[in-house]
Structures are given as C-alpha cells and as structure tokens.
Symmetry: D2
Subunit: 400 residues, 4 copies
C-alpha cells in the first residue's frame, strides 16, 4: 500500500499545474466576456488554448490506449482534479471535456473502423464536438428500461422517433454528431431492447428545440443542454454502434469512467471553493474581527478539508480498482463516489457561497455556477437514491 503518485503522474501534474497558472487562470476573465457574446458557440479563445495544450503534451489525457495519452485511470484522476479547478476552460482546452470524453471512449471501444475514421478522429483532434442523447422528458430515465425513443430497422436504414432533453453540448453548432440511445426491440429481454446509433447533426428530422436551464444557467459556454426531437430521422445501418440490443451494455461501459471523471473534477472545484472561502474570510471584517476568526466559519473550513481528503482517496482507490480488476469489479466503488462526491462538494460550495455573502450567489464569483453543476450531478446519470438502493442490495446479499 502506497499513497504517493507515480512518476508519470507527478510529471504530468507539474506540467498541467504550470499550464493552469500560465494559460488557464489568466484566461478566465476574457472567457467570461467572450462567452457573453458568442451565443451558443464556445468562446473563441479556447482554440488558442487547445493549440497550446496540445503543444505541451496535455491532450486527450483521459483516453487510455493507443488513441489517447495512454494513462491509467489512477494516473488520469489527479489530472482531472486539476482540470476541475477551472471547469469551463481547462477540460475543453485539453480535449478532456464531457460528453466528448465518454463518446470518444464509446467509439474507441465499440465503433467500427469507418465510424472511428469518420467521427472519432475529428473528436480526438478537437475539431468537432459531440452529444450523448439518452435522457427523455416523458419517462423516469434513471430506469434505462423506461427509454421510449424508437429505432426501427427499415431496409438499409434505421428510423428514429423520440424526444430527448438535457443533451449537454448540443446547442453548440459545432456539435456535429449525436449518439442516440433508443429501443430497437421492445419485445427483447429488458436489457437487450436498446441500441445506439450515430446521428449527424444535419440529418433531416433532427430538431434542436431549445436549451434547458440549470438553476437559471443556460451553460452556453459548454454548449448548453438541448431538448432535441427526432422525427422520422433516417440513418444508414452502418451508423449502429456495436450490435443491435447492445445499447444498455454500451451505456454501462460508458458510465464508469464518466462518473469518475465527474468526481475528480468536482474535487478540483471543491479545492477551489476552499481557497476562495479562506481568502474571503481572511479579507472581510465583521463586528470587529476577520470573518476567518468566526468559529462557525472555521468549522466549515475544517469540515471541507476533511471531506475532500476522504473523497479524493475513495475516488483514487476506485480508479485503481478499475485499472486492476475492471469496471465491473469496481461497481460498488463507482456507485459510492457517484453518490458521495456531488453532495459533499455541494455542501462545501454552499458554505463558500455563504462566506461570500450576496457576492457568492452572483456572477462575480464562480461559486454559484459550480454549485448548480454539483447539485445537478446528484441526479444526472440516475439520482443518488437509485444508486443507493442498488448498493444496499449488494451489501445485503453478503448476508443472505
């Protein structure tokens, strides 16, 4: 047992921290300004940052194997944490932003050669963005078997009909490709009914209707969260990912890394919140003493530190398990971090907001927006309650 990062990780951490200091943090103010003016497109300064990151060898860090940087989950995790400290910029600048990361993984693992050439390559090169269309407004999507979008095999084509929402990134016009989950065979066994197909943005019948809000935020600087209607959308059968009936399995495979990335970035956000909370508490005075000397504020700072340390270790251990025994063997731990991280980070952000007073809820600090993001992760990919039930069931089974 050894709690030190390995040398590869240490080197990349150092390089990445330098990139953050030299390029990312200094760009934050300009990013906000450009975002206010670029509609649903991403702020243009991202392009320069992407060039710079690629030049520095900080590119596709998330992707194991030949297509990406080839890191293990355990090696990538501490880097993802650092990216999370500036979550609107750093992940995008290093081509490590959701949902493209998960989509690239899907294509790398399950895509045909043609699909990889056509869609994976431009994604790996950061030329286009992508979307993952699973959640539906009309059913409780935490139970994937509820999914109602139909994908009907019709000759050489699949015909797609359905309504999706909270399709992150899809408002961005540069989001060129959608991975769509739907049912090809409603009569098959419960977990063999679903399939995934690739749908290019300009396919007739694909209507991007509107951007969904998240606690008032449009998240336009991430490409928003679209409501998308598929009306008799036709794609060639070659657009099927993997096999018919394999959609549920692909979704599961996609979720493990996706969740751990989310958690690591959340921990980076929490670290930033603690920094902001401390700085603010040190700089403001009420009733004759610095806020930092208020006992309740000290309590929040200590609690924050203690919670972060525990979360980070559990996420790192989960990464190690994924690397050593596989995602299936790490199932309990993946669920654990999925449950534990957003709510703890939300708590920390809430306290940082409170220390900032009215400023904390406003656009002048990143805290409220980060909070909305953390809060939303308590229900994205299935609400915590669903995961807790499943986790409890495995615990109970030990004693049956």
């Amino acid at each position: 047992m050894d709690f030190a990062y390995d040398q590869v990780t240490e080197d990349l951490r150092e390089r990445l921290l330098r990139f953050m200091d030299e390029c990312v943090y200094p760009a934050e103010a300009a990013f906000e300004e450009q975002a206010a003016e670029s509609g649903w497109s991403l702020p243009p300064l991202l392009d320069d940052l992407k060039d710079e990151a690629r030049k520095r060898g900080l590119w596709n860090l998330f992707l194991p194997g030949e297509h990406g940087a080839g890191l293990t989950n355990l090696q990538y995790a501490p880097l993802a944490e650092i990216l999370g400290r500036s979550p609107s910029i750093a992940p995008a600048a290093t081509n490590c932003a959701a949902p493209d990361t998960g989509n690239m993984e899907v294509l790398a693992m399950f895509g045909s050669e043609w699909q990889r050439k056509e869609w994976l390559q431009p994604l790996l090169d950061g030329e286009i963005r992508s979307a993952f269309a699973m959640t539906e407004p009309d059913v409780a999507s935490s139970d994937a078997t509820n999914i109602a979008t139909s994908i009907v095999h019709d000759g050489d084509e699949y015909v797609i009909n359905g309504r999706k929402w909270f399709i992150s990134g899809a408002m961005n016009p540069n989001c060129k490709i959608f991975i769509v989950m739907g049912k090809t065979d409603p009569e098959a066994p419960k977990h063999r009914q679903q399939s995934m197909v690739l749908v290019p943005r300009d396919t007739p019948g694909l209507h991007v209707k509107r951007g969904m809000h998240v606690f008032g935020y449009t998240d336009a600087d991430h490409g928003g969260h679209a409501e998308v209607v598929f009306e008799d959308v036709r794609v060639p059968v070659a657009n099927l990912i993997g096999e018919e009936g394999g959609g549920f399995a692909i979704a599961q495979a996609r979720l493990g890394p996706g969740r751990i990335h989310h958690c690591m970035r959340l921990i980076g956000m929490a670290e930033r919140a603690v920094e902001l909370m401390c700085r603010r508490a040190l700089s403001r005075t009420t009733f004759g003493k610095p806020v930092a000397r208020q006992g309740v504020v000290q309590d929040w700072i200590a609690e924050s530190r203690i919670r972060i340390e525990q979360l980070r270790l559990l996420v790192l251990k989960t990464a190690w398990l994924m690397d050593t025994v596989g995602n299936q063997g790490a199932h309990t731990e993946i669920q654990s971090i999925k449950i534990a991280t957003p709510i703890a980070v939300e708590w920390i952000l809430d306290k940082a907001v409170q220390v900032h007073g009215a400023g904390g809820v406003s656009q002048d600090f990143p805290l409220a927006a980060l909070w909305a993001h953390a809060r939303t992760l308590r229900l994205a990919d299935g609400p915590d309650e669903v995961h807790k039930r499943s986790l409890a069931y495995r615990e109970l089974k030990k004693w049956m």
Copy 2:
C-alpha cells in the same frame, strides 16, 4: 390559546384563494412568456391583475393603519403565505411585493407629509415601484456599521457618494424612487451615524450599472437586482427620511415586518413544492412501482409536512407577538423565523427538485427558481450566522 384564524382572516383567505384559482395560476404560463420578452420591465399582464385584485378588495393587504388594508400582522400572515404560492405574480398583483412593502411602511411611519404625498401615494396606488439601497459590495454589510456610502450635508442639499448592489427591483425602469442608506456622521456613536434619503431615479449621478445574478437568474420579472453607483448625487434636504442619524433605527423598524413577510411567502412556496413533489411522485414509475412508493421519497414528504407545520406556527406566533408586544418584544422570534424558515424551505425545495429529476433543475418547473430565492434569503438581511450569534447571546444572558 386558540389556533383558529379569526373571521376577518377566514374571509380574506377565501377571497384570496378564489383570486389565486381564478386569476393567478391561470396567468402563470403567459407571465413566463411575457417575461421572456419584456426585458427588465415587468410583464404587462400584471396591470390587469392589479385592477382585478383592487376591485376584489385584495390590495395593500400588508399595510396596517389607515393607508393600507388595516390588518394586523397575524391577520396578514396567512394571506402572505397564499401569495407566496405564486411569488412572481400574486404579491405584485395585490401590491404586496417586496421591497415596496417595506418602503411604503417606512414612508407611512417616518415620511414627511410631502414625502408621503409625493412617493407613498403612487406606491400605494401601484403606479410606480421603489428600491431600498443598503447592501454594498465592498464591505460585509451584515454589520450595518460597515456601510461606507457617504451622505454629506451641503447647504440645502445632501451629496451622496457610494456603491450599492443587489438593489432588488431597481433594473425595472418603473422603479422611480430609491431609499438610500449612508453615513451622515462617521464620528457619531456607532448606531447614530446613518441616515436615509430619498433619491429619484432620474437624479444626475445615479447610475444603474448592471443586474446582479442570483445563481443563474436575473430575476428580470421582479426588476432584477441592480448594482447602482451614486456619484455626487444631490438631493434637497427635504428628501431626508426622519432625522439625521436615524437611519439605523429606521432600518431596524423596516426589518421586522419585512422578515415575517418573507417567511410567510416561503411557507407558501414550500406548500407548493410539496404539492408538486406529491403529484410528480404519483405520476412517475421507476423499477416497476410509482415513485410515490419509494420509502425515501415518502420520508421526504413526511419531513416536509412536519417542518412546514412547525415553521408556520412559529411565524404566526411571531406575528401575534409583534401585534401584542411590539417588534422589539418579538425580537427573538423574528430572528428565529429568519433563521429557521429559509433553510427548511430550501431543503423541501431540494427534495422536490430531486423527485422531478432533470426537469426539477430546469425552467419547466418553478422549483429551481424558488430554491434560488430561498437560498438567497439565508444571507439576505444578514446571514443566518450573524443572527444566531445574536440570538445565542440573549439566551446566555438569561443565565449570567
């Protein structure tokens, strides 16, 4: 001891509930649409609703005495709760919306005859709106003695310099008058340094800079929350409210009713959240049974009911104390509800959001916006922590 509402209250509750059913709820969708297009102005349908409310005798309910409906706090409280069920529309439609309510109280209590004629009357008639400019970005405003804006007596005028923010309602061009808190005498005893002056919107040097966000919301349908700069703003000495050095006392007098109104409306929001949570839980199915049959969801519903009942009673008792022993005698209770209500209602709204899944955080349900409002009230008018310290001090004094 008697827990039944009196007859006046019962009659007004019935009338108001009918107004809600017949006029307010049916207008909610159109209000949202108009709000999306009316910039910082309020949606025009409010004007019709105001006429209707006035016709029905549901006007200025908040205001005791001759100028208003003449209700006690205890009589108004259950009505304010009902208004809170549709907080963007109902308070404005009945001329019971913050911050005008507090401003009208200030003018009714402390205003000169001229001030009442000039500003109170059009406010009572719902012709203009008003703002209360106290919070400043550069100091911890929870300690009112930190206020830095200067109000300098210069001949027949006061000259005002300073920066305020989160001035609710002030982005609305129909917000015609500002009550500004500043220091007239920085050398006076701590609570005699402040004064309040009336500053009309069009006074040279008054710059409404931008709307502050609350989480992602601009609250444009309430007139937003402005940052306002006062640069050598000059007003006649007749614009002083009350006497020089009386600003702190007026602020205190204003806060009691203001807080209880906020709390009652919050309880109405909580009731609406419970209704939405139940309806959603009954209508959605996951893993083979309605969400309403999930034990954890039932736990939330029960907890919500129990917390609401306790809060309502404490707010009502506080109102009764204000009526019988005065705001000063109700100090502990006013602080108690100020502390207890927002955090409990925030919790209820959070659970209602969770039951709604992704929809809960979006613009398709009112829950996320209500949450942001409740969250903000944990720090508006002084963060909970400041009030708890003060309340604890009084408790400790009993045993000294």
Copy 3:
C-alpha cells in the same frame, strides 16, 4: 388565534413552578442517593412528595373528566412540560407518570365498573403502579398485527401465553397490575384479532424475568423495563377490557395522549438542557475565553432555542386539535410531534453533553440519561420511519 395560556393554565403553571422550586429540585440529589440503594423499588422520598403535591392540588393533572383534574389537553400540556424538567421525580410525585397515565385513561374510558373500583381507584390514589404489556421480543412490534401472545377463551377464564419485553415499570414490586395485549382470534380481520386483559402481578404463570437496559441504564428509579413471560396464565373473563377484538382500538386510543405527554416532557428536558448548556458554557474557559464565546457553541444554543419554540407550538396545536376535533382529527399532528420531538431533543441533549465534556456523559449530570430516554422514544410506540410512511401516505392521498 391567540398564543396566550388561559387563566386556569397560568394559575396551575405558577403553582407547579413553585412546587418544582420548593420541593422537586431540592430533592434531586437525595433521590439519586436513595435510588442507588432501593433496588427496583422507587425511592421512598417520593411518598412525601406525593402527599405534598396532592395537598397543593397538583394531582392527576393529566386526566380529563371526573376522575382526574379535568383539564383539557391544551391546559395540561404546559404543565407536562414543567414536569419533564425533572422527569424522574416530578411526574411520579404528581401521579402523572407513564405508563400509569395511559393505563388510567384506558380504565377510565373502557373499564367496567368493577375494574375501575378494583384497579383504577388505587392507581388514582397513587397506591399502586401498573404496566402495559404490548412489545414482544420475537416480532417487529411496530406492526401491531405481528403481536404473537395468545389469549384463549377457556370457559370462565382467559389463558395467556407469550413473551413481552420492555414492559416499563414492571420491575417495581409495587407494580401490581398488567394490561396485556394479545390475540384472542387470529382468524378475525387484521385489526379485530387483539384483545386486552388485566393480569394481576401475583397471578401464577406470570414471570418477571429480568430488567432490560437502555444504553446501559436499568432505569430502576422508574421501575425498569421488564422482560415478562406469560405461561398458561389464567384470569377470569371479567378481566377483559372492553370487548373481545377491541384491543387494537384501545391501543390506538391510548397512544394519542401518551405521545403528547411524552413530547411535552421532552420539551421540558430540552429546556433544562439549554439551561445547563448555557451555565456550563459561561463557567468554563478554554484557550483564553469562556466557552460561551465559541461561535460553534453559540450556534448550538441558538439552534436549540429555535427548535424548542417550534416543537412546543406544534405540540400545543396538537393538544388543541385533540380537544376540538378529537384524537382522530389530530392524527397527522400526533404523528408529527411523535416524529419531530425526540430527534430534536436528542440533538439538543447531544450538544449539551458536548459542552460538558467528559462530565456530560457521566452520572454527575442528568444529560446522558435524558439523552438515552429521548433516543429510545425514536423507536418506542413504533419507530419514526413507520410513522413517516403513514404520514406521507395521507399527504399523497390529497393529490391522488
């Protein structure tokens, strides 16, 4: 709506407070000493206190109607709170101690003339004590239909077989009569299977086996919590309370007042805890300042005050409802206080313990013992979780 106590209540409160100051608090130390030496019997000084209380007209305050003091629930509630400030002595001294209160109510409401003469009268006179035997070790007794003890009609007698535990008061040799709940007809509809019979302590086959502990406490000064075995115990049919099959209904009738009494006493305990917490915090110094000036301790004190005020109001309103619309109409509120009070008072006691340091968990302060009592009430009469489910179900039904 009026939050002032009526004159009858005010007079009794004053008399009772004087009794507490003059007789109860001064007896606490001697009570502890006698309790250490009197085994399962109650400390003898209780007898003098009972005489004194009766002389002062502070007797059977809990019992409405001709047999008792004739108070409403609303009038008794604030008195029960005061009794709760010294819960080992004051309720017993005024003949208002559980479980006798509930048992006297049962006999007053459902007992035959003979039963009332034989058992109610000596209980009303404080000459004997009684027990209520419902909970069983072998089933989840929160679901009363699980009760397994059998009561078989055999000629002129009932024959009882079964095992009960946590029969409070039954270790006390002066506990002369047991009300036993069991099944007379396992084939009847679910809520008509149970009956209650009176079993005198000296009936052959009734074995008081041992005292159950509650977090290490034997509660010998309350008569403990016995495990009792009924082995072919025979009693005449005249010992049936009410009718065969009426046991469930009697149990329900008994629970309403029982719960509200528990809650009021808990609130008295919470008030005592706040007093002790404040006094300790004012008297101890750490790191150069009194503990009372630590922000976190102030936070606890404020929270405690706020929670107590809310609980008390909800309990009082519940009492008012029981008086005005009956126990059935107050069902939601009775469950609400049953759920809300123990956990809140437990929290307050926990904080008071923490402020006392090691002393807080010890026998030198009443806090740890009070805590164990409050904690146990989270599961006595059915765990909170069962009540929450039931309460949620009624809330959901509003929207079905």
Copy 4:
C-alpha cells in the same frame, strides 16, 4: 500508488481473522456472563485468550520497534480494525488494548532503563495493566494548559496533589501503575509547565474514589473510568518520565498513535454494525415485507458502506504518512480522522440500533454499548470542536 495490503499485513490479517473466528467470537457470551460477576476485575477467560494469542504470534501488534511486533502503522491499522470488531475482548487478548498501548509507547520511547524494566516489561508481558491520568473534573482539559494538578519537586521526591477523572482502566485492581500529568513549573512557558511521573497504585495518598459512568455503562469489563484523588502523594524523582517540563511533548507524542488505533477499532465496530443491521433487516418482517426492503433502511445501509470506505482510506493514508513523514507531518490527517471517525461511526451505530428496535438499545445486542463508546470519542482527547479550530487555522494559513 497502490491500495493493496503488503504480504506481512495479509498474513497477519489471515491469522488474526482465524483467531477471531476460532477464539474471540465464540467467547463473547461467556465474557458477558463473567463480566457480570467479576466486579471491576476483568473476566478471567481473558487469560486463556492471551496465552492463545501469544502462542499464535498475535501479541503486542501495535508496538513498533524491538519491544513489540515491529509493524509499521500502516501494517497495524488493518489489524486494529479487526480487533475492533469485538472491542471488549480482542484488543485485551492480544495485549493491544488502550490505554496500555499508549503507556507502553511512552515508556518505550521516553522511559529510563529502570522504568522500562520495572513497568514496561510486565505490561509487554500482559501481567499488569496501567492508567493514564490527565483529564481533570475542575477545568476544561481539552486545553492542556488548564491542567491544575501540581507536581512539586521536594528533595528526592515529587509530591503530587490534584483530582483526575475518567482514568480508564483504573478501577481494575490489576491496574498497577499510573502515568500522571501535572504541573511542575506554573511559571514556565505555557507548554513547558507540565511533567509526567509514574505513580504505583499502592502509593499512599492515591485514592481511587469511584467509577465514572459513560451513558449508563460502568465499563467494568475494561476496568472502568475512575475518579482518582492524589493527596500529598510522594514518589522518588526516578519516577519522572523524560525531563521536567517535557510532559506536554510526551502527551502529544502519545496522542498520534492512540488516535489512529481508536479510529481503526471504530471502523471495525462500524463493520460489525453493518453486518448486524443487514442480518436483522433480512430476518424481520413489517407490514408484509422484510425490513431489508424498506427504502429508508436501504439508504442507511448504503450510506454506512460509503462512509466506512472513506474513513478507512483516510485512516490508512494517515498511518502511511506517520510512517513516512512522521507524526508531525501527519498532524492534519491525524486530526481529520479524530474528527471524522467517531461521528460517522456513531451515525452508523445509531441506524443499526434503529433497525433493531427496542432490542437495539438493550444489553442483548452490542450496539448501544458500542454507540456509547463512539459518542464518547467525540470528546475524549479534546472535543471535535477544538480540533476543527486548529485544523481550520492551518488551512487558513496557506492563504495568509
């Protein structure tokens, strides 16, 4: 970074698990019976278990270096967790029980040759027990500079006067030696005033007055928690441990390992609680389904698992830091686990109690007693609040 235990640890874990299964768990019932009859002495069956443990090489596992098993903290931690699963028996059986462990460490590190021969050796051999006398009833002992016991140098002797309480183990007549902390020089700098001296039990003037309770428990099976008065107690100067004025430093050195051992054992208790909670939930039925299928119970089980995993990792990392950078370098982490573990384990135990109903609070299950132990650790060695303040201060210093 590697989350697997090393081979030494794995081997010892296997051996220890076998010892638990073969010897410890089977002895639990008899231990309870003997404990009920052996007064303040430890149950005699411990002697056989000690022989057996020693034979199996499971002896003094806690002690690094030549005197003990020579394990690192990281190697011992998972073993201590296993010992914690049966905390009354397993630590004592393997000579790894507090407070002897800390006392042996003090003697091994700071004891003179004579002190080691006289006292360390019999402790290492498990022939005698020892006590650590620091906490005082009359001052807030969390601030060690408050300690009031005086140790006056008088010729060849030290004269000790003072009152201590909660001296764990000291009621056991086989507790032969006390390490006493007191002030030798009240005029010295704050952290150089204290010294530690060895006081044999039979020294005149040492009065063991009474056993303090912890909630209702006397903990007689651990030797209780004594109040001890030192009245002109005289010991030779050779009984001074280390140097005069070194008491504070020795206390600090003793606390690091002591805390981590407590935390590891607590985690073992939490694991046992989860096992009991699951088994009970599976075996009981309410309202027609097993308790294990109640959503709220599942939520508790999942939360428990998630919290345990996080705690264990933080404790293991802390052990690793103590091994690699020393106790001083692990200061933040030691405080973190000291704060995080007891409250989380208390929560888990509370839920396990609730699932057990009335049985949970009783002597028929170990849960209530374990709860009392966990609760007490929230204030032993300084209440959490003191540690949080200190931890927050270090966090704030990063940004000063």
